[in-house]
Amino acid sequence: MSLLAIQVLNGLQLGLLMFLVAAGLTLVFGVMDFINLAHGVQYMMGAYLAATFIGWTGHFVIGLGMALFGIMLFGLLLERVMFRHLYARSHLDQVLATFGLILFLNQGVKMVWGAAPLSVPVPEWFQGSVLLGDGILYPVYRFVIIGSGLLMALVLWLVVEKTRLGMLVRAGASNATMLSALGVDVRKLFMVIFAFGTMLAGFAGAMAAPILSVEPGMGDQVLILAFVVIVIGGIGSIRGAFAGALLVGLIDTLARSYSVDVMRLFVGPAAARGIANGLSSMFIYLLMALVLFLRPDGLFPARGRT
């Protein structure tokens, strides 16, 4: 029971991080019909910038703020130089170009920061653990991640559902051409969404930096998971991304933890960990296949999308 509680919290935490990445990705997809494979490396850049700025300033919150600003500028720069020229292209061109960007940035961070993983200290305020009855300890920082993830989700929901900008975003996700015909400057809207999505991914990377190792290629797996989340939730749908992310986070974490125990019944501990790692990674893809088989448009398809 206590193990289950911890695993559910871990799953929630992974799910919320996934949501931050997937939210930007799904909007960029939904509104611009643009496949940005490089969204994962933006998560990675967020983590690297956070590691660097926190190291410089020695202060978590200031470093985080600088990293967020930096990643947003970086996103705008990429949009200006490269992505803007790809919106009208075929998906094939978009996939290939952003794939090139991944190769470049993964290798680039290796050149700048080295191949060895960086570690970011957990901020002083949030060190230590909380006692959750029954003698279960859970690190404070992980609660911080869960809390800030929920906060971001709330802010995102308020912006998308309650503001004029959000209305434009939803309209864009349903039919960008129509929106443009109604006199909205869609290019500007694209830029705002893009910068915002990049910042969310960067924020997820920065928040994850103290509990994961910051290393080249760390964004690749996150990107693919975010794809799964979006497909499960329905492209262009924030609600779908939220539900999908929590589902993926929980299932992945629980499968990972329990499949080791199950495998241990059959083979030795080292082999069990190796096998369980691979098998549990497959679970969410099976989940995705099931969802797509039953509902090809995902669980919560964006309304009015053609």
Binding site: I35, H85, H91, A97, F104, M282
Partner: protein, 327 residues
């Protein structure tokens, strides 16, 4: 003149394939005469990559389906072969049909689900299935897990170690590539290919004409998966090593690059694309260990500056020479 995406215009016809095949057939002869033995191995590797790119070109170029998980089939073929070799059942007569069957079955099962979707979702779902194969390979703890598996040797044929001879292996690979090239060339002109091509441009219209688009696509997907499985069989034998990295998603990206740089839908372009990729890799990694820092931007520039790959560029150039004559 048609756009770069159209297949079976005059220039992607019979003669380039013949010239290409003759050239490849002569490589070992030249290599032995000039004592450049490593050419044989390098060209073998190139042909295996070309076969893999060719198989992707069937669904991507002709079918218009952007699969981002194609390396999975290579991995499946390679692992099937590798495991059979380790278990002492590595004879070609066992390993080859098994590799084709396993990759074909995986293509069939994933194709049933993936082909229900279109566009972006298809890209993502194939990517996810590719990852599934990748993690499955990692989970094969008894066969090396994450680190991969060094094989005891190559497949035998009727118990003979024929394939260990690199010239024999070269011609086996060559035969596979040439056979697949010819097969696809014929298929793309047959009704099967026409329906596939038609469905790429307008699936609804093909369906209203009475064709079962899903079935044709599924057949193409399975055939393509089996061809990539064949490439996997050859790869495992060539390197005498299998690793989850064969099925990694970056490999799928590399394959897409090869297909595009050679010109989407042009069958011999896939071979040219594989050659270009290998030359770039060899050349750039000679300059710096961080060659991907150059390779990545090259891909980006290539996409931004051209449409339709080298063949498309050559085609447009030729159009200029033709003085705009339409054929």
């Amino acid at each position: 003149m048609s756009g770069p995406l159209v297949l079976s215009s005059k220039r992607s016809s019979f003669w380039p394939v013949v010239v290409l095949c003759l050239g490849l057939a002569l490589v070992p002869v030249v290599a032995v005469l000039t004592k450049q033995g490593h050419w044989i191995s390098l060209t073998t590797q190139m042909m295996i990559l070309a076969l893999a790119a060719l198989s992707l070109d069937l669904i991507l170029g002709i079918g218009g389906l952007l699969s981002f998980g194609h390396a999975a089939f290579i991995g499946l073929g390679a692992y099937t072969t590798g495991i059979l070799i380790q278990e002492g059942k590595g004879d070609v007569l066992v390993a080859l049909p098994m590799s084709l069957a396993v990759s074909g079955l995986f293509a069939f099962l994933t194709g049933i689900i993936a082909l229900r979707t279109r566009g972006v979702v298809f890209i993502m779902i194939t990517l996810a299935f590719g990852q599934m194969a990748y993690f499955a390979a990692q989970a094969l703890y008894a066969y090396g897990g994450d680190d991969g598996l060094t094989l005891d040797g190559r497949s035998t044929l009727f118990g003979l170690k024929l394939l260990s001879n690199k010239i024999v292996f070269y011609y086996l690979t060559f035969a596979c590539l040439a056979g697949c090239l010819l097969l696809l060339q014929r298929l793309s002109r047959a009704r099967f290919g026409r329906v596939l091509l038609g469905a790429r441009d307008n699936a609804v219209r093909m369906e209203s004409l009475g064709y079962d688009v899903f079935r044709v696509r599924l057949m193409a997907y399975v055939l393509s998966g089996m061809m990539a499985g064949l490439a996997g069989f050859l790869l495992a034998n060539h390197t005498e090593f299998v690793s989850p990295a064969y099925a990694a998603w970056q490999r799928s990206g590399d394959l897409i690059f090869m297909v595009i740089i050679g010109g989407v839908g042009s069958l011999w372009g896939a071979v040219g694309g594989a050659l270009t990729y290998l030359l770039l890799e060899e050349g750039l990694s000679g300059l710096t260990e961080h060659w991907k820092v150059i390779f990545g931007p090259l891909i980006i520039l290539f996409v931004l500056l051209t449409h339709g790959g080298i063949e498309g560029v050559v085609g447009r150039f030729r159009d200029l020479l033709d003085g705009g004559r339409h054929d």
